[in-house]
């Protein structure tokens, strides 16, 4: 099969391209990138209103399988990720049972959904069964396909165990993805200690609950040489610690979510459970610090922390509702509209935080747009705006705090592993399969 992407603005920091070019894809491979290609055998795809970028990678999603299939499955999650413009999605191990054995890792890594939609890359739990007590079989899980290790949702409270985990992880060369939260400081209410806690009366989670653990783990990362990646940073204190660590040359990386970049604690004073996330939405100063860090390069990656829940759960009282937002399908348009359109970051930086840096964090080859590369492409339309309509989400979770937001930069075409898998809201491979063509 041949495809010709016509007149798209190709943005590839690896090849330093940023101009209107055609891209010819033959048999899954990029064969030509230049102006004015014509090929009658190729299926032409109009990209004249589009930006053509190396495929996007989400380092942080909860796909809920096994055990919580009412919230999401690998199938719906991989489909939502693809619709969100992602070619790879890293799923977290806080399932039921947790992804804590090579057997379960293999099952997720070989999921059928990966060959139809976005490829799902599993993380294994850091501690055995996410209990925070013993080391999980990191080596065997890595061999079975785990790309990283994480106890996300919980934080390793014991510094001794964390140090051991970092040391033991060196047998695998895989990164540790760390959710940082000291439970001695965090009441786990998902309300920022500040204006939100003062107005609502709900006990707040101070920024220090996150920052003290970041400080601890920067020290341990330096000491052990482990590859540490901090998940969903939320506070300015954490940013300061991270900035200093990077200045010192310590090998740590960090991600921030679109919701922490766009929303603040002001949204939580109404105690609307749609805005309940962990770590909590914090103050305007915190959000500003995150934005500054994104621009500066202190933040390496944007990750969704896609955490779908059922409507029943997510519409309970704030205190009882589970934390989390279905973020896969809004991340890219949010970043495009709020940061690229407003010229806070450029397209090159967008590609860095969504494609190049996530690949580097995983220790994988980065995607690039040039001859001889397999087509891993995220193509977004920047001319047409659309309102966020959660009812139309491909995720099982039809809820979003961004409902009604008017956004630009929606995915138009997505090539995964050389295949055109997303075409303006359609899923060609899925259709072909359901028709029994394959």
């Amino acid at each position: 099969m041949k495809y010709l992407l016509k007149k798209g603005t190709v943005v590839c920091p690896i090849t330093c391209k940023e101009s209107e070019l055609d891209v010819l894809i033959d048999n899954g491979m990029i064969v030509r990138v230049e102006k004015g290609i014509s090929d009658k055998k190729a299926l032409a795809l109009d990209a004249s209103q589009c930006i053509v970028m190396p495929g996007f990678i989400d380092l942080h999603a909860h796909l809920r399988e096994p055990g919580e299939e009412e919230k999401e499955t690998l199938y719906t999650g991989a489909k939502a990720a693809l619709a969100g413009g992602f070619v790879r999605v890293v799923c977290m191990p806080n399932t039921e049972p947790p992804l804590s054995t090579s057997f379960l890792i293999k099952a997720v890594a070989q999921s059928d959904a990966s060959s139809l939609f976005c490829r799902v890359l599993p993380t294994g739990s850091l501690s055995k069964n996410r209990e925070g007590k013993e080391i999980a079989e990191l080596n065997l899980m890595a061999k079975a396909g785990a790309v990283a290790f994480s106890d996300d949702g919980s934080s390793i409270q014991s510094a001794g165990l964390m140090r051991s985990l970092m040391l033991y992880s060196l047998t695998t060369k895989k990164p540790l993805f760390l959710h940082e939260e000291d439970v001695n400081l965090s009441p786990q209410t998902c309300i920022h200690e500040g204006k939100a806690s003062f107005v609502t009366g709900v006990e707040g989670t101070p920024s220090s609950a996150e920052a003290v653990m970041i400080a601890r783990d920067i020290l341990l990362a330096e000491e052990t040489g482990a590859r540490v990646h901090f998940q969903h940073l939320s506070s300015k204190e954490s940013i300061t610690l991270l900035r200093n660590a990077k200045k010192k040359g310590i090998q740590v990386t960090a991600e921030v979510t679109p919701h922490h970049l766009v929303l603040t604690e002001d949204e939580t004073v109404s105690l609307n459970p749609l805005f309940k996330v962990n770590p909590p939405l914090r103050s305007t100063e915190d959000r500003n610090a995150l934005e500054e860090a994104l621009v500066e390069g202190v933040i390496d990656v944007i990750a969704t922390d896609h955490a779908p829940h059922t409507k029943e759960e997510k519409t309970r009282e704030f205190e009882l509702a589970p934390p989390g937002i279905a973020g896969l399908e809004t991340a890219l348009p949010l970043l495009y509209t709020y940061f690229v359109e407003k010229k806070i970051i450029d397209l090159r930086r967008l590609v860095e935080v969504f494609s190049i840096n996530p690949a580097k964090v995983l220790g994988k080859k980065v995607f690039a747009i040039r001859e001889g590369e397999r087509a891993e492409l995220t193509v977004i339309n920047t001319a047409e705006s659309r309102k966020v309509n959660p009812e139309k989400f491909f995720s099982k979770s039809k809820l979003s705090p961004f409902q009604g937001f008017e956004l630009y930069g929606w995915p138009e075409y997505v090539f995964v592993e050389g295949e055109l898998r997303f075409l303006k809201g359609d899923f060609p491979l899925e259709e072909r399969r359901s028709k029994g063509v394959d």
Partner: protein
């Protein structure tokens, strides 16, 4: 008076002397009458404050082959708690005119403390995570016999190096005899501030091809599945000499283990009796080396440095 508390107590001349005397005793051990009168009238105390069958049996038999009497004090830690210190015990033994003591103790430094009293020669039979010099000597000697020379040979020590007194004594001795030491294990079980001449690897598969000697340490089962190690499967996949790995192993490699082997953990049962394994030879040389050490410490002139070869 001299002691053997640490491998550092021996200079290279001492080591060679021990080896050459051991060679002599090997012959004795092959005789029909396996006994010589070298230490007749002497008494060796076996002071084992931590259980050990192998080391104790080996020392006891070595002494008897030399016509040396032995007395065994399996001092339980509880009797020490009753108020009698290690020093009290040693002084009592000294009053009873004991000539030498082997000490096995759960705490590092115990043998050294006893030696510092200078009541009689003290042999460290293993002190906590400290040292086990006779094990290091017998290991090096067994390998030397097999390989003729250790110069430039690559020794990989695999497993729980951090808690291993065998490794602590061994690293120094292998190095001194010209071998290149690589420690192989999870970073949780490797010492962190190593001398420059020691290499480190986290995976057995990385060193298998290049090793002349694969020295497996005994893993303590209670460490599996805790804060140092994941479960047994993860350990075996990383560090065990399994049937599968045996297939791809060099023909001329030497497999060693201080014993007792946890079958199915460090080594598969097939490995123990593989032709490349010298584990049984290690046990045999344990006797000859300990006979040599006892002779050197207890002969009339006393001490390593004074005895002519």
């Amino acid at each position: 008076m001299k002691h053997l508390v640490s491998i550092l107590d021996l200079n290279n001349k001492d080591v060679n002397k021990i080896f050459s005397i051991a060679k002599h005793f090997e012959e004795v051990l092959e005789r029909r009458v396996k006994k010589v009168p070298a230490l007749i009238g002497k008494t060796l105390a076996l002071l084992f404050i931590e259980p050990s069958t192998r080391t104790k049996t080996s020392f006891e038999l070595a002494a008897r082959r030399l016509s040396c009497d032995t007395i065994s004090l399996s001092v339980s830690t509880s009797s020490l708690k009753k108020g009698e210190t290690l020093e009290d015990t040693a002084r009592t033994l000294s009053s009873m005119k004991v000539d030498c003591a082997v000490v096995r103790h759960p705490h590092e430094g115990a043998a050294k403390k006893l030696a510092s009293l200078n009541l009689f020669p003290v042999i460290n039979g293993g002190d906590g995570k400290g040292e086990h010099p006779t094990q290091a000597l017998l290991d090096a000697y067994t390998a030397l016999k097999k390989l003729k020379s250790l110069n430039g040979k690559k020794v990989s020590i695999i497993g729980d190096v951090l808690h291993s007194r065998v490794a602590r004594s061994g690293i120094e001795l292998w190095h001194r005899l010209g071998a290149k030491v690589t420690l192989v294990g999870p970073p949780t079980l490797l010492p962190r501030h190593l001398p420059e001449y020691v290499d480190v690897s986290y995976r057995l598969d990385e060193v298998m091809k290049n090793s002349d000697i694969l020295y497996f340490l005994r893993i303590q089962r209670e460490r599996l599945g805790g804060e140092c190690l994941a479960g047994i499967e993860d350990y075996r996949d990383l560090y065990a000499l399994t049937k599968d790995r045996l297939k791809n192993l060099r023909r001329d490699v030497v497999i060693m283990h201080p014993g007792p082997v946890n079958r199915g953990i460090e080594l598969d049962p097939e490995v123990i009796y593989d032709e490349r394994s010298i584990i049984e030879e290690q046990v045999f040389e344990g006797l000859s080396i300990r006979m040599a050490v006892l002779t050197l410490l207890l002969s009339e002139k006393g001490g390593f440095h004074e005895i002519p070869a």
